[in-house]
Symmetry: C2
């Protein structure tokens, strides 16, 4: 992987330039990129048509064809996404803490870009545009690896975005399109130059990435989410929350896969819930106790508790209370999003404290777990890891901080030995700018 | 590794209990542990004496013997460390952000423990006490793996601390002492249960850990730190900063290894600096230009730029300006701590922005890079990675956050389709407590 390695090395060397770009240069570049995408809409659509034609020939599945399509509205949407990024506050250069260590010796903890981020994604060419914009706004160089089925679209987009941004003041080489399957393997070994990998794709794919690199990975494999309906739940809330969590959009990571129901409420909740779910073609699978209340539904077996259906299927289990629900979730869940429905605040707080997941909800649909709904402005991804960023991750997930110490010649020897000077450790007004 | 794996699995299951411990229970446990360490000082000293006797027999090196010793003042110091931890604010349960998504739908980003942290350290038994205290205060279960040369001390301490904390309200099994070399290998594969590994030891050891696990690692291998003396530097500041950075404590990661000097100031700075450094027995190695001003010193070769001497040796290179200094540091440095000496603020800001290191200093000694001097209260370690925590890391490095959403039955379908409700996305007063 000499080529990709040397490319990544050069990209790493751009860190000083990219981290010092002014907000106005970055925003102007995003605006220029949006204009270029609009201006070249026809050429981009033509490139995409080549991919679509080739996909037709090899018989790509319908849903993948839909994701591959990058025409008309989708092109306009990508341009608007870049303009929206330009309007977000700059995540770089924010002061997280400020402390006087001694008179004339001031310490600032200031956000800065990670350096080089790599994103590996499947067919959707719009993901390329979004990730290029996120990287630019956060001052990172970016390696993009798309699916080979989108190669004409990706090449046209990467070339256009790179070129346009360079004209607007970005350094040559800030964006690189990796194209081969070998590049993915090569990427995983570039720990010296790549600071973060963001994989988007199937569970198996994401898990493969996570298990085969020592580079930090921002993402999630499974989304096995739960709703627990407590004994004190309001059934009028519980039914729509379960229906929405399951059916509002079924093929996503924050859709519910397993419903846990308190024994006390099961006879009252389950029959009306069944009607509402079956009206939306949801197949139910239940443990023995559930099946007493819902005769005729399929049996849920051990494997159901650890399956992300991504389909109109819901497994149901009756439990004795919040503790059993928490244990089930922490055992079988994927630490993504889990909700409790209850009228009892103490039980809700207990659940939200004890469930070891990125998102824990009280009386709300699991489908709210999303960067847009959270108001993050832009979503880099959803993380189920616990390092750096968790849950929906916005631009903040692409920056880290450095400690800047401003002195007047101080040395440590004066603070040691006999008659040492002491530290004042006084918090300074955290003005949002490093003095 | 069935044993360690099942132990780790049980520890992971303690997360709900540990994360919900009240601050007062945790602080009382820390106080009880401090009292127990003091009360059992004689027994602990006796256990340690066994280690010292065995080390004597196998001929352990002097510095290692000193680190292994855990008697008298060191025992009292460990007890005081636990008391100091009790006085620090609780890192768990802090609200990082609070946002109304819509009326009656409130999102809180609240800190919580990581879950299970593992620390692998060499001889020093005081590290065991410190890490046990840090884990307890941050609500984490902890796996400790010490060196076999300290096995009697570690067993006595781990048993005492575990037992005392359980009496004070911690759950059985919150602390586990791993003892075999195989345990280390086993640990690296416990990604399902262990959330963070903190290695302390030689560079080779830390590097081995980092390269052989997909579990996040908090730590640093090399500490190749630089001081760059700019053309506009005040020589009265530069000389003591370089001397302090090199000699104040030579065998540590934040000591300077390479000095970069601007061509314009080299003839004026280098001769007096040589006198000051040689007075403290520092050996100098220089590039050809340095050796013009410092005749007779050894030659610095390529390998010097990438060597952490941890010794009274300093390599020196003359550079043309701040850009060349930054490039050298980003190429050869270890992203730990680098300082500029200059009277020109713009140059200092440029250097601090462009150097890709955890700690970047202006007119101050590199030796200030330290959790105690930074006022963090307690130091978990120094991180040169860019994920989660960077530079000196305090208790904050042992927590992450979760997103808590408080609703009244809201579903996503109402915010989609035709005539959708809109989000308000209004920042809420961030009170420091999740409502």
């Amino acid at each position: 992987m000499q080529t990709l390695r040397s490319t990544a090395r050069s990209m790493k060397a751009l860190t000083p330039v990219l981290s010092s770009l002014s907000t106005s240069v970055k925003n102007a570049a995003l605006a220029a990129m949006a204009a270029a995408v609009r201006g070249q809409a026809r050429e981009l659509a033509e490139a995409n048509q080549k991919d679509l034609d080739e996909a037709e020939v090899v018989g790509l599945e319908k849903p993948l064809m839909a994701r591959l399509k990058f025409q008309g509205e989708k092109i306009e949407g990508a341009a608007e996404g870049l303009e929206a990024l330009a309007r977000l506050p700059d995540p770089v250069g924010r002061t997280l803490s400020a402390r006087e260590l001694d008179r004339g010796l001031e310490l600032y903890q200031v956000t800065c870009p990670l350096g080089v981020v790599a994103m590996i994604f499947e067919s959707r060419p719009d993901a390329l545009v979004q990730m290029a914009g996120l990287a630019l706004k956060s001052g990172n160089a970016v390696i993009l690896k798309g699916g080979s089925e989108a190669k004409h679209s990706n090449r046209a987009l990467a070339d256009l975005l790179h070129r346009t941004a360079v004209k607007a003041g970005l350094p040559e080489g800030w964006l690189f399109l990796a194209e081969t399957r070998e590049d993915v393997k090569g990427l995983l070994e570039l720990g010296d130059f790549v600071d973060l990998i963001i994989p988007r794709g199937s569970n198996e794919f994401v898990q493969f990435i996570m298990k085969n690199t020592t580079i930090p990975v921002l993402g999630h494999a499974d989304g096995i989410c739960h709703v627990y309906v407590d004994g004190n739940a309001d059934i009028e809330k519980a039914v729509p929350i379960v229906v929405d969590s399951k059916t509002q959009y079924v093929a996503v990571c924050n859709a519910v896969e397993t419903l846990l129901v308190h024994r006390d409420i099961a006879p009252f909740l389950l029959p009306p819930l069944r009607m509402a779910l079956e009206a939306r073609a949801v197949q139910l699978r239940g443990d023995p106790e559930t099946r007493k209340y819902l005769p005729g539904i399929a049996e849920a077996v051990e494997q159901d508790w650890e399956t992300e259906y991504l389909d109109l299927i819901l497994s149901i289990k009756v439990v004795g209370g919040v503790d059993e629900a928490v244990t089930h979730i922490n055992t079988y869940g994927s630490r993504h999003t889990d909700a409790i429905v209850t009228e009892d605040r103490a039980t809700a707080e207990k659940f939200m404290g004890a469930v070891d997941s990125a998102n824990v909800f009280w009386n709300a649909s699991t489908r709210f777990a999303d960067g847009f709904r959270y108001g993050l402005g832009a979503e880099v991804g959803v993380s189920t890891s616990k390092i750096h960023a968790r849950g929906p991750v916005g631009l903040d997930g692409l920056v880290i901080y450095k400690w800047k110490l401003y002195g007047k010649g101080q040395i440590v020897a004066d603070y040691a030995g006999s008659n040492p000077k002491s530290f004042t450790h006084k918090e300074l007004p955290n003005s949002g700018a490093a003095r």
